[in-house]
């Protein structure tokens, strides 16, 4: 009797909270298969929409930065963690998106951002071409070439990019609503981010994801399983660049002024760091990685600021050291990234209160 009761209780518990019991294949493939999971998803979405009401302006600005970086990082995740290719030219795609958006700004902002993504995607296919022949470090160097080429074009093609002085943008407008600050722009960012995130998750869990993972894990047996390597790699590059282009367009509308200095190599490397710290190949990793990389300098700044202005110069140098050390520590202690950490916490509660 007592046994029956405890059995019912644990069964109910796992059906409601944990994902251990899945009766059908359909449940197995759903985004959020438990009632709690669905509740959590909806709460998160509502919270996202309400965020500007809850946060003061500067933190909100940082949150918008994080969201934009997440979109860009997500694109790189699909490429690096998904298809196992590497790109040091991600900033170039952000730049392409940003400059395109700068020409279609104001009331046309949404169109400009979308077009920037598409344009970046097309150029992404070109960047993907070397990947058909070379791999790993060599590919990284090949993509570096695009980064430098883009930098040169951004500086010299003054008619389009405004040269080193760059371009300024009027405040974005969407459906007649002006978005002069981060609070308002947040909704435009969400409008792009939410569909892009669900799309990426869908891609990774369907055919595209399988093709990419297959290319990443074993290109020989991918071919003999009927995978067209050329197409799989090029779609990965195109999609990755598309996401970066969108992120670039949003960034341009946030900064309202862009110069070539916004899209240098350091920026590409920062995005790679987001991917690695976040844990390559997952959607959640993109958000966590972007949060970490954007937030840590802000937090360090705040700490330096708290000590008073007289310490600022000596601390400023140490800030980067601490930042670098944190990334290193991460790689050593948690190679799966923040996602790995999250996964272990979740696994713990999935079977709680039993240890196994």
């Amino acid at each position: 009797m007592l046994f029956r009761l405890s059995q019912t209780l644990t069964d109910r518990y796992s059906r409601t909270f944990a994902r251990t019991v899945r009766a059908t294949y359909r449940q197995d493939e759903a985004y959020a298969s438990t009632p709690l999971g669905r509740l959590w998803l909806w709460t998160a979405l509502v919270l996202l929409v309400m965020l500007p009401l809850l946060l003061p302006p500067y933190p909100m600005y940082v949150v918008v930065l994080i969201a934009i970086a997440s979109i860009g990082a997500l694109g790189l995740h699909l490429l690096v963690g998904g298809a196992g290719q590497i790109s040091l030219g991600h900033a170039a795609f952000l730049g392409i998106g940003a400059y395109t958006a700068s020409h279609l700004a104001g009331p046309l902002a949404a169109v400009g951002i979308l077009l920037g993504g598409v344009l970046a995607g097309l150029i992404g296919i070109v960047l993907g071409l070397p990947s058909l022949r070379i791999k790993g470090t060599y590919l990284a160097i090949a993509t570096l070439a695009l980064q430098f080429l883009a930098d040169y074009v951004f500086k010299r093609w003054e008619a389009v990019t405004g040269g080193i002085r760059g371009r300024t943008l009027p405040p974005a407008e969407f459906l007649g609503i002006s978005m002069p600050n981060a609070d308002a722009l947040w909704y435009l960012v969400l409008l792009f981010a939410i569909p892009l995130f669900f799309y990426a998750k869908r891609l990774l869990s369907s055919r595209a994801g399988r093709l990419w993972y297959a290319v990443r894990d074993n290109d020989l047996s991918a071919r003999l399983s009927g995978v067209d390597l050329t197409r799989a790699k090029l779609t990965a590059f195109a999609i990755s660049a598309f996401y970066a282009g969108i992120a670039g367009g949003l960034l341009a509308n946030l900064y309202k002024s862009i110069t070539p200095d916004n899209f240098v190599l350091t920026f590409s490397i920062q995005y790679l760091a987001m991917v690695i710290v976040g844990g390559a190949g997952t959607v959640l990793g993109a958000v966590l990685g972007a949060t970490f990389i954007v937030l840590i300098p802000e937090v360090l700044n705040a700490i330096v600021g708290a000590f008073g202005p007289q310490f600022a110069p000596s601390f400023a140098a140490w800030r980067n050291v601490v930042f670098g050390a944190l990334i290193l520590l991460f790689l050593i202690l948690e190679p799966l990234g923040l996602v790995g950490l999250w996964g272990r916490i979740r696994d713990y509660f999935r079977t709680w209160p039993l240890p196994y």
């Binding site: 074993n218 071919r223 399983s225 009927g226 779609t235």
Partner: protein, 250 residues
Amino acid sequence: MTPILEAHDLSLSFRGVRALNGVSFAVNPGDFFAIIGPNGAGKTSLLNVLSGLYRPQRGRVRFLGEDLSGVSPQERARRGLGRTFQNLELFRGMSVLDNVKLGAELAVGAYGALTPDARKEWAIRRWAEEVLDYLHLSPLRHKHAGALPYGLQKRVEVARALAGKPKVLLLDEPMAGLSLEEKQDLARFLLDARREWGVTLVLVEHDLKAVLELSTGVLVMSYGEVLYLGEPGGVRDNPRVTEAYLGRSA
């Protein structure tokens, strides 16, 4: 009966080494065709030529009556020429289910990768589950393929290949390194697949006993040459085969 897979006068050399020298044979639909021979006989090279990884200098391969010269490996796979490897070539970072699903796309039908199609995806999942169930892999579906023990990885590789419903499945030493029970299981799965799904099997194997018991046709190779081609019963009595395996008697 018209052969389903036909090799005609295949020759392949790497610089000075002649890996294949005028190899010809034909496999009929429903055959269990075994390729045996000592180490370095050119068996794996032959499979690689058949699946399109190597381009022979001379000769041609016909599959389903069509010449395969210039057809890419991935296209051969789509036409129904499956393949497994001697050294495991699984997608180690993918789950068992995803490995099998990738194979299942060949059977169920692919769709544009960037436009996820829930119905197709669904059909792929159902067929993949059927194959998993068939090979007794269902409980492992969410495990990472690379984390499984060797014998199970081999079975996953066979599952991935079978999920594509190949017309001909090329298996490179599927039984090597397996325990007796695992060998028996695998042999049963393969025979069942042949009977129920009509898969023609071509396998390279070292286990002579298994080959002689199971196969319907045997090709014996040594140093890239065909020593024997025919019924399994005739292998033991063939003087050239005995010589290649045991050496000339003094």
